[in-house]
Amino acid sequence: MADEFKQITNFDRLIHEPSRLAIMAVLSACENADFTFLLNATGLSKGNLSSHLSKLRDAGYVNITKGFKGNYPHTTCALTRGGRRAFDAYRKQYLALARRLKK
């Protein structure tokens, strides 16, 4: 059991936070997604989503592109290469731990 606790402490804390984990999971499954899609997929409020995206951008995991679609502002988010690697590593750890706990 001590090993399992040790594995949990080794998780990337930035990704492990539930809201940011949801954001990373959604972005890992596509090339990019806009703000509206992330809002609907994660169920977060606009403020919360913006705040978490900023943290992920500052860590170099997410690229945020602001533009316009017609007259409306349009924000698109995508995982960076580093972000994809970090999420893949997190997911491997998470699944390995889940399998171990199941046994």
Partner: protein, 231 residues
């Protein structure tokens, strides 16, 4: 959010988003119908006459270099133009209607796993190899080999659809791929010409994908209407 999210469900739902509205099914259906008609028409006397007239016109107007260039690539160019046009229409429908409220996603480039593509190609080539072996052994005639081209195409496409359906968790593609792939075998036992087999295979797939696409689109548009009326 305080509870750990189900990341596998989020990943699955995001990967399925591209296919939930049924437009990809309808696009594939349109492509297959167009391709089948193009092949069939090209092999009819009218089609061949039109092709020869086009070559003569190009030679008189632009010279022989244009004739060679355009006549070799005309079918390919038509398919590319149709593909580009269908993607444009899909984007327009999603921008103005289907994805306006739910948001925009650019899907991953490789939705089909590499191993599925390799196996699908192996299935196609195996079919051709078997038919050529049987032809050399004198068990079948040349028309069987030509029909095998289309049957093997059906197996290959069915397997790819099944593989993609399993990868992204979309059951309708798993069922459609399995049933359609197996049903493509029927072509081997029907007395059809190359052009007739082309239109039958592509037409059947177009019909199946058209039905699944229309059902999915109806579901999506109902959901959008309910959301709008709830405001």
């Amino acid at each position: 959010m305080t509870i750990q999210p189900d990341i596998e469900a989020l990943i699955s739902e995001t990967r399925q988003y591209e296919f939930v509205d049924g437009l990809r099914d309808l696009q594939m259906a349109a492509m297959m119908a167009f391709f089948g008609i193009l092949i069939w028409f090209g092999l009819t006397p009218t089609g061949m006459r039109s092709f020869v007239l086009m070559i003569l016109y190009l030679k008189d107007t632009f010279g022989s270099w244009a004739t060679r260039l355009i006549s070799l690539s005309v079918y390919f160019l038509l398919l590319v133009a149709f593909l580009v046009g269908s993607f444009w229409m899909m984007r327009a429908l999603r921008r103005k209607w289907l994805w306006r409220e739910s948001g925009w996603v650019k899907p991953l480039r490789m939705q089909v796993p590499g191993r599925v593509n390799i196996l699908a190609a192996a299935i196609f080539l195996s079919g051709i190899a078997v038919s050529i072996t049987l032809l050399i052994a004198g068990k079948v005639d040349e028309s069987f080999v030509l029909r095998m081209l289309w049957a093997a195409t059906g197996w290959c496409f069915g397997f790819t659809l099944l593989g993609m359906g399993r990868e992204i968790g979309l059951m309708r593609y798993v069922r459609l791929g399995a049933v359609g792939g197996i049903a493509s075998t029927i072509l081997l036992f029907l007395p059809l010409s190359f052009g007739q087999a082309a239109i039958l295979l592509n037409g059947a797939w177009a019909l199946a994908l058209g039905i699944t696409g229309a059902i999915a689109l109806r579901g999506s548009s109902t959901a959008i209407r309910q959301v709008n009326h709830g405001r």
